[in-house]
């Protein structure tokens, strides 16, 4: 059994990859972080071709559910869930930071201590989670300002040890990571204001000013 898995992640850039029996067969990303909906499916087709396989051969789909910018995140989760539904195969959501943590351990970016994976949450905040030296998540994910992060070595997009997610690795290790569900890890409530009391539409009292000569 070679258990072909398609991996998708849109928590930062658009990434897709294919793994068979835990080995990465193809992996790609599109650096443009704005046009997720445009680029994801063409990239999926490209990595499948590179891996010498097709959708009908897949046995599972794994998708990164963030945290990350909401609109982009939903592109990946919508595509992954509908692909799985149509192909009649299972889909598993994983925390995108967990994949980065495993990549950091494998890449020798971290030592024998606990560490933090941190990515850009905009609005001067980070998405982050804390990991043990083997890459197992101990705490998080959270969103907060950079000074609230634990005093530990840091890896990830906003740190001195930048790290880009590899969707082929995601596909290879998804089954070993905690199941994060298929609801994106938003971590923030929607931006919305309950309307305040109505503003007066009556004209304010007229005030005449006289120019002082």
């Amino acid at each position: 059994m070679n258990s072909l898995v398609l991996g998708i992640d849109t928590s930062a850039t658009v990434c897709a990859g294919v793994a068979g029996a835990g080995v990465v067969l193809a992996s790609g990303s599109v650096p443009d972080s704005r046009a997720h909906a445009e680029q994801l499916m063409p990239l999926v087709q490209r990595v499948l071709a590179e891996a010498g396989t097709g959708l009908s051969e897949l046995e599972a789909i794994a998708v990164g559910v963030g945290p990350g910018p909401f609109t982009g995140l939903r592109v990946g989760v919508a595509a992954a869930t509908v692909l799985a539904e149509t192909l009649g195969i299972p889909v598993r959501g994983v925390c995108s930071l967990d994949v980065l943590a495993v990549q950091a351990v494998e890449g020798g970016l971290v030592g024998a201590a606990e560490f933090v994976v941190a990515t850009d949450a905009r609005r001067k905040e980070y998405y982050w989670a804390r990991y043990d030296p083997s890459g197992r998540r101990l705490d998080g994910p959270h969103v907060s300002s950079p000074q609230d992060l634990p005093e530990l070595p840091r890896v990830g997009a906003v740190t001195d040890a930048p790290l880009a997610l590899d969707a082929g690795r995601l596909a290879a290790i998804a089954n070993d990571l905690p199941d994060a569900g298929l609801e994106p890890l938003y971590l923030r409530r929607p931006d919305a204001d309950v309307p305040a009391t109505r503003k007066s539409t009556l004209l304010p009292p007229r005030v005449t000013t006289r120019r002082v000569r």
Partner: protein, 354 residues
């Protein structure tokens, strides 16, 4: 053979719709609405709507297939709303549609939401006489269209220059302390009122405005006029006659909507007027349109209310029309366009002729 089996996905605002048609025959129309989640905000919150679309899309797909009694593998083509609408909401449906098209290896058609509102009536009343005029009124749009060909030649004669008609209903409902969405509730309260009690303004109907804005609408001045009227009553300690205010406001909206739509028919020399969008279900709008179109020998067409509001069937049937016209599918690199003009029926034809 009665036409292609087309699955349509709609997610431009707060309704997640999956519709399935075979040619002009409606097989399924599943709609999941997030309207209740927007009530406390008094209007659609894009991020709330987008989150709801993602939760609703796969269940809606399943229900639509079950209702139509088909397997996804039987579908001949996928149609999806490419715009106009809310960006974050549109991309959920678009991503789902692309995944379907790729997984099934079927063509994808990214179509115009507004044109879908026009096309949907063929499901209820058969082929649309063309040319004709169409009036689309909802919480998101108010436009008057000249429809020469539903797949290739639609032009906008006019549109609202500020609020959509449905938005004006929502705002007036809020200032009267009524619930959201405002359309149905004002319609109900107005039934007990006198539409001539208060002379609210009819936007863009003065001679000087007609020169430049003959077929355009404006409802923001009307909303302000209602607000001022109510506020003065309250300031003076007088009771606010809710039914009369609702009826007079509704009359002002429907009077101007109807007058310009009938004028458009005469200007175009067409004898069919189609109405669509959520506000097309409004009882006073329908009555006034029936009265004024009948006077001039114009045939009024209106889909059943469930097809007037946003839904997937309107996208599926427009897809069916586009397939029937032999148009080329969209590219898989198709993007969502929040401001898609109504003249673009089908977006992003594949240059490689896929």
């Amino acid at each position: 053979m009665s036409g292609p089996l087309v699955l349509g996905i709609e997610s431009s605002c707060d309704e997640t719709g999956v519709g399935i048609v075979r040619g002009h025959e409606l097989l399924a129309n599943e709609v999941a609405s997030s309207v209740e989640q927007h009530v406390r905000f008094g209007g659609v919150v894009p991020e709330v709507a987008s989150r709801a679309h993602l939760q609703a899309i796969v269940p809606a797909l399943r229900r639509a297939c079950a209702t139509a009694d088909i397997d996804l593998s039987e579908v001949d083509a996928i149609a999806v709303t490419a715009g106009p609408g809310l960006m974050g909401a549109l991309v959920v449906g678009l991503s789902a549609a692309k995944a379907l098209a790729v997984a099934l290896n079927r063509p994808l058609y990214g179509v115009n939401h507004l044109v879908g509102h026009v096309a949907v009536d063929v499901l209820d009343h058969g082929p649309l006489p063309q040319p004709c005029a169409a009036l689309l009124v909802s919480g998101g749009h108010t436009s008057l269209l000249a429809v020469n060909s539903i797949t290739s030649d639609i032009t906008e004669l006019g549109a609202t220059i500020d609020d959509a008609a449905g938005e004006a209903y929502d705002k007036v409902a809020r200032l009267l302390g009524l619930s959201y969405p405002g359309g149905p509730v004002i319609d109900r309260v107005a039934a007990a009122g006198d539409p001539r009690a208060i002379a609210f303004p009819r936007g863009l109907t003065a001679t000087k405005d007609l020169a430049k804005h003959r077929f355009d609408y404006s409802f923001s001045g009307l909303k302000t006029a209602v607000s001022r009227w109510v506020e003065i009553r309250r300031r003076d300690g007088l009771e606010v006659p809710m039914a009369d205010v609702a009826a007079s406001f509704q009359e002002a909206v429907c009077d101007v909507l109807t007058a310009k739509a009938v004028d458009a028919c005469e200007h175009l020399g067409v004898d069919t007027l189609l109405i669509g969008g959520g506000v097309a279900a409004n009882s006073r709008l329908r009555a006034l349109l029936e009265e004024r179109t009948a006077e001039r020998g114009i045939t009024l067409r209106r889909p059943r209310p469930a097809l007037c509001t946003d839904n997937g069937a309107m996208i599926a049937v427009l897809g069916s029309e586009v397939v029937g016209a032999g148009l080329r599918p969209s590219s898989l690199e198709l993007g969502a366009n929040p401001g898609l003009p109504v003249s673009t029926v089908l977006v992003g034809a594949d240059r490689n002729g896929r």
